[in-house]
Symmetry: C2
Subunit: 254 residues, 2 copies
DNA sequence: CCCCGCCGTTTGTCCGGACAACCGAACTTC
DNA sequence: GAAGTTCGGTTGTCCGGACAAACGGCGGGG
């Protein structure tokens, strides 16, 4: 038995700034998250009861609970009635965000690059129209890109967006991901429907990706919606299975 | 302009049972969710302000807020300060749960079946030991299964569990999924780390799945943790790409 | 020695109120 | 007519308190 494991955060110093416009519960949750991240709050250690914590910080219990709850939702803390709140043992990293491949590669230390093959406006095919909830033949923007890492092709990306949603500059697309541009344009992404599968590459696809014909490729189709429910993007992507796999963490809803 | 779209849930009837052990906020959130599911609350319609809703139900505003917040977390509602709470327009289905293939197939109307090929205890290989956080050579349970739908092979599943975690009956495994059994045994699943990729099937794998050698297959590796942080399961799965794809919905964290 | 119930601790739920921040629309002003 | 301003309505944040429910350890009884 190590007493440390249970002593927890009693001696940890947290503080809030009431003059800040940042909500108090958010200030606290950020400090707690940072302490967990840096190991100052050891996995398995108890956080100390909410009443005392509130008292030490000069906050009310609901505010402290709100801060804790946000970290529980992130999977960093676990609450047990009659026991207390403790830091989870496992290494929780990132619970599957809606991030672009560009950000993924950049975070992994790869040097991503993009080659824009097409950036045009076309009438929507039946499949694209159905995915975006538009009438067939409506004008949509088609973006075809090749994503590279360390100069090697990684994926072939086709995206369709409703025309007029916002202007897409090819130069900007070379330097960052699509989602970053959409967020910057004031579009609030809300949810996405995805399908991940696999198939054999056609000769043309193999050519583009540097794989032989018939090589296995990962496929992903995704429709993204904003918070008004409009479909704002439909993508059909192909990844080199020999060089890429989707990695993510998911949490279980209690 | 249709007034209906904004009139919202004013005339909808909700009620709570204070003698029930089910929390009041949960009763309300279930009724709201059912109303949305059945279309009684139209997409885009406003929910009516929280104060009135609380008054009509004889609840306090925090309780109503808690009910609404749980549906916001599920992606069914969107709140806008100064505007109100409205039902999202898009069809939100299921935000990617940690569910077994068995449940997925059953929900899709396929008739799943399982053939248990192996159910033994063996010393852990280096790979399995690393995934489960055990010492190499520690005894682990190995379960090898073939999953069928409509009598056709769909996937080949290999799972390793720490020995002694709970007893696995082959007969039970034929009738349901692994996660359901684990939950029934009192193990609270907390999070999982997954990797989804693709490759060509070996001759042996093709034989088992009814695919030619070299056919593309989807691969998934998954390590599942309980809420104490222990790894409770490691799985290495292969799916017929011609017959199966992962479909899921994901929400954007605000 | 083992099982069972008691009891303190801690989180879960719920209340009622207060003020701030924000949005949209009506209004005023130029 | 257009732009800026005010104002009502709604959600966001925060407080202090109260009781209930679950867990774990303790002691008593078999």
């Amino acid at each position: 038995m190590q007493g440390e494991d249970s002593s927890g955060a009693a001696e940890l110093q947290f503080s809030v700034d009431r003059s800040s416009p940042v909500p108090l519960y958010f200030q606290l949750s950020q400090q707690l998250e940072a302490a967990i991240e840096q190991g100052r709050l050891a996995p398995g250690s108890l956080l100390g009861n909410e009443i005392d914590l509130a008292g030490r910080l000069g906050l009310s219990r609901p505010t402290v609970r709100q801060a804790i709850q946000s970290l529980v939702d992130k999977g960093l803390l676990v609450r047990r009635r009659g026991v207390g709140t403790q830091v989870v043992h496992s290494q929780v990293k990132r619970p599957l965000e809606l991030s672009s491949l560009y950000d993924d590669l950049e975070a992994a230390g790869q040097r991503p690059a993009t080659r824009v093959l097409r950036n045009t406006t076309e009438p929507a095919t039946a499949e694209v129209a159905a995915a975006l909830g538009l009438a067939e033949g409506t004008d949509v923007v088609l973006i075809e890109r090749l994503r590279l890492a360390h100069g090697e092709p990684m994926a072939h990306l086709c995206n369709w967006l409703p025309a007029g949603l916002f202007t897409l500059d090819s130069a900007e697309l070379e330097g960052t991901g699509l989602y970053r541009l959409m967020r910057a344009a004031g579009i609030t992404l809300h949810s996405a429907r995805q399908a991940v599968g696999a198939r054999a590459a056609t000769a043309e696809e193999g050519e583009e990706l540097g794989e032989p014909e018939g090589a296995p490729v990962l496929t992903m189709e995704r429709t993204t919606f904003d918070d008004t429910g409009r479909a704002v993007e439909f993508g059909s992507h192909i990844y080199r299975a020999s060089r890429y796999a989707f990695e993510f963490q998911l949490l279980v809803r209690p």
